[in-house]
Subunit: 73 residues, 2 copies
């Protein structure tokens, strides 16, 4: 598998901290030099290791925002 290149353009929010310093984060990430996308996943403390996650377009983030506003937590 080819190496995955990524750059965390902006760390928007840390949602929680788990074991060994891993954090669930919302970031703006550029994958393989492409235009940055929103990204929600777990990261190790130094951001060298990542867990599974989802990448979201601005449109999807907009829909998510709407859905959460209507949600009673």
């Amino acid at each position: 598998m080819a190496e995955l290149k990524y750059e965390i353009v902006e760390n928007i929010a840390v949602l929680s901290e788990g074991a060994k310093g891993w954090q669930k984060e919302l970031n703006l990430i550029s994958w393989n030099d492409r235009a940055p996308k929103y990204d929600l996943r777990d990261w190790s403390e130094d951001h060298t290791k990542m867990g599974k996650g989802v990448t979201l377009s601005s449109e999807e983030v907009q829909e998510l925002k709407k859905a959460l506003q209507e949600l009673t937590l």
Copy 2:
């Protein structure tokens, strides 16, 4: 690997629709009969196949909601 049992307790929102009817969804899902958690991932049209995603606690969803409210999209 043991079979993964899941039940979609509530379909909260569909964020987008992709190729072959796959949808990015925010759901409340019970994994292996445990208490339901929020879950953001891609699903096939009939919900028999799933993509990678993230599972979120209510606290994490609350933090995400706050972060998105402050975000200019």
